[in-house]
């Protein structure tokens, strides 16, 4: 069997793929955080909980309503996004005039509530979600075995990230969004409904988290704590990348996922902390983050 640095190529590519999958989730989640932060100036601590909601909505759709994976991939993000719209209208909108800290504290509280409710109802152990029939099985590549679903996660995430980037950079609505990020008062003076834009942006960012949750459901088990664990890593990803650029968030997310996968092969004990260590190093060398504008 072929080896690289004493590690079987099979194991190496397997971990790389897992890293890419984790990276996909990091990328989508940090993208959502960056879009929300850019316009609303709040850090959405509930992002992890909303990712978890996406997975649970998909699970509930399948087990209570018999709705399969493909419709869930659309319905769950929409549902999570709508819950985000409600949250923004009812609670977050009251905080725009206050210090940013309060947004963080409020969404932290929301995350605790959502997680607690799901844990009460479903227990703390994970629930299985089967891989859809069309994507089960895999392909034997010359150097590795590629499970189809895992390949799909990477492709779908990349597609969603690029679509988001295009929507923000190339469409009229995206132009409004970018303008309002720069100067909301001026954009409002031009007759754009900025409060509505804020609500939609939050809903969209949250829907992205829900989408990542549905993608994650068949790979990881559906678990009330899945969001809490990932959100802290995503915060580190955001600090490393800086929230100034959309492409930056995507590249950093995927990149760090791959690095994490590699560390899992060569130094397994360090895989849980490597992203935090990288964050510390980036802070020492380039405090604004790799793609960040000076904070």
């Amino acid at each position: 069997m072929a080896t690289l640095f004493g590690v079987p190529l099979q194991a190496l590519s397997g971990q790389l793929l897992l890293g890419l999958i984790n990276g996909s989730f990091y990328a989508i989640l940090s993208l959502g955080l960056a879009v929300i932060f850019g316009l609303l100036n709040i850090i959405n601590f509930a992002h992890g909980a909303q990712y978890m909601m996406g997975a649970f909505v998909a699970w509930m759709l399948l087990n209570y309503a018999g709705v399969g994976y493909w419709p869930a991939l659309l319905i769950a993000p929409v549902f999570v996004g709508l819950s985000g719209v409600l949250l923004e209208r009812v609670l977050i909108a009251r905080l725009y005039k206050l210090d940013h800290l309060y947004g963080l504290l409020l969404t932290f509280g929301v995350a605790l509530i959502v997680q607690g409710l799901f844990r009460n109802h479903f227990g703390a152990s994970g629930l299985p979600y089967a891989i859809p029939a069309e994507l089960s099985g895999g392909h034997r590549l010359p150097f590795m075995f590629l499970p189809t679903y895992r390949g799909w996660v990477v492709v779908a995430s990349l597609a969603v990230c690029l679509a988001t980037w295009l929507a923000i950079e190339k469409t009229k609505l995206g132009a409004y969004l970018r303008a309002a990020t720069e100067n909301p008062a001026l954009v409002q003076a031009f007759g754009v409904n900025v409060p509505l834009l804020l609500t939609l942006t939050y809903g969209f960012g949250v829907a992205l988290a829900g989408f990542a949750g549905v993608l994650a459901a068949p790979v990881l088990s559906v678990n009330p704590n899945m969001g809490a664990d990932i959100i802290i890593v995503v915060f580190a990803v955001v600090v490393i990348g800086g929230m100034g650029s959309i492409l930056g968030a995507i590249v950093t997310g995927f990149g760090l996922g791959v690095v994490e996968g590699l560390v899992k092969v060569f130094y397994p004990e360090g895989s849980a902390t490597v992203i935090f260590v990288i964050m510390a190093l980036v802070l020492l060398v380039k405090p604004a983050g790799l793609f960040g504008r000076t904070a």
């Binding site: 850090i43 800290l101 929301v110 605790l112 802290i232 890593v233 915060f235 964050m279 510390a280």
Partner: protein, 330 residues
């Protein structure tokens, strides 16, 4: 008590409190003495271990509030200093046979050292990034504790001997330990009061309110921030190390991010930037946990609701509201 008396002259220099400052200092002294008296009486009515738990968490919240309320820095990773100090003290007492006071000093030192490293990194960014960095670094500390051989993994360090204070006083008696914890708690509270009302504390508040202005006046803002961060982390370490002796236990719960959230909640409920707020917040939160422990996940939900309600309607906290009502800083 001596500390608080020497601190009473300082508030006269706070312009914001105006002519009421001398009154305020007298009021603070009265509250402090009242608190000490309450701590003498309380064990006759309440379970001493419960009271010691409240004091440890109150001290933790006071340490956290020093950073948030007076430094304006929201750390979301204070569990790291609390928990690591707890592990250090527990390990030193159990494995190396340290006496309680030495183990607690070591824990405090570990908290401060970790605060120096993490603080130096975190203050390189501001506002919301600061919170995210402290949270991420604390998560790193959590994984370290999860994997390191000396922390006992999921079991933690159990059966920490309470030992003899200075080799003389046996702390295995709950009453002796209670007196010791109460003295540590009151002493630390007096120290924090002194820090807040010192010239250092005034400069800190100036930086909190307007950092560019303080810098233009010649204050080295990052040095002040780092100093208060280390102080806060050391005191959080003191709280964690003391806690290890009260429960004879150091576990992963102490370093988990939910602990960081709890100390934020205590401070928010009691009132950020007030001297006595964190005490009230800790009392409320610990009591709530004790009574709701049987309902499992409901504790988390209720904590979440309290967070939301506090942020939306009640940003000054209990003590902040009282202070506003009586028009004196508390």
């Amino acid at each position: 008590m001596v500390d608080i008396a020497s601190g009473s002259a300082a508030p006269a220099r706070i312009p914001a409190t105006g002519g009421a400052s001398r009154d305020a200092a007298a009021l603070h002294r009265a509250i402090f003495i009242g608190l000490a008296a309450l701590l003498v009486v309380a064990p006759f009515a309440l379970y001493p271990v419960f009271l010691m738990k409240v004091m440890c968490f109150a001290l933790f919240a006071v340490a956290f509030n020093l950073l948030l309320g007076y430094g304006g820095l929201l750390s979301f990773g204070h569990a790291a200093y609390f928990g690591m100090a707890s592990y250090a003290a527990a390990y030193a007492a159990k494995v190396w046979g340290f006496t309680p006071e030495l183990a607690i000093l070591l824990g405090t030192f570990v908290g401060g050292l970790l605060g120096l490293v993490f603080g130096a990194l975190a203050i390189r960014r501001q506002g919301i990034y600061f919170s995210m960095i402290t949270l991420a670094l604390a998560q790193m500390a959590f994984f370290f504790c999860l994997q390191a051989p000396f922390t006992g993994g999921e079991d933690g360090i159990q059966g920490v001997p309470r030992g003899k204070l200075f080799g003389l006083i046996d702390l295995s008696d709950d009453r002796a330990l209670y007196v010791f914890v109460a003295i540590v708690f009151l002493g630390a509270l007096a120290l924090v009061y002194r820090i807040i009302h010192s010239p250092f504390g005034q400069a800190l508040k100036a930086i909190r309110d307007n950092e560019p202005r303080a810098i233009s006046l010649g204050y080295r803002a990052s040095q002040y921030k780092l100093a208060v961060f280390v102080l806060s982390a050391s005191l959080a370490g003191l709280a964690g190390a003391t806690k290890a002796f009260v429960f004879q236990l150091a576990t992963l719960t102490d370093v988990h991010w939910s602990m960081s959230g709890e100390v934020v909640l205590m401070t928010l409920v009691g009132g950020m930037g007030t001297i006595f707020g964190p005490l009230v917040g800790a009392l409320v939160t610990v009591t709530m946990q004790n009574y709701l422990a049987q309902f499992g996940a409901w504790v988390t939900i209720i904590q979440g609701v309290v967070f939301v309600v506090c942020v939306l309607l009640f940003r000054q906290g209990v003590v902040g509201l009282i202070a506003k009502f009586i028009r004196k800083p508390l």
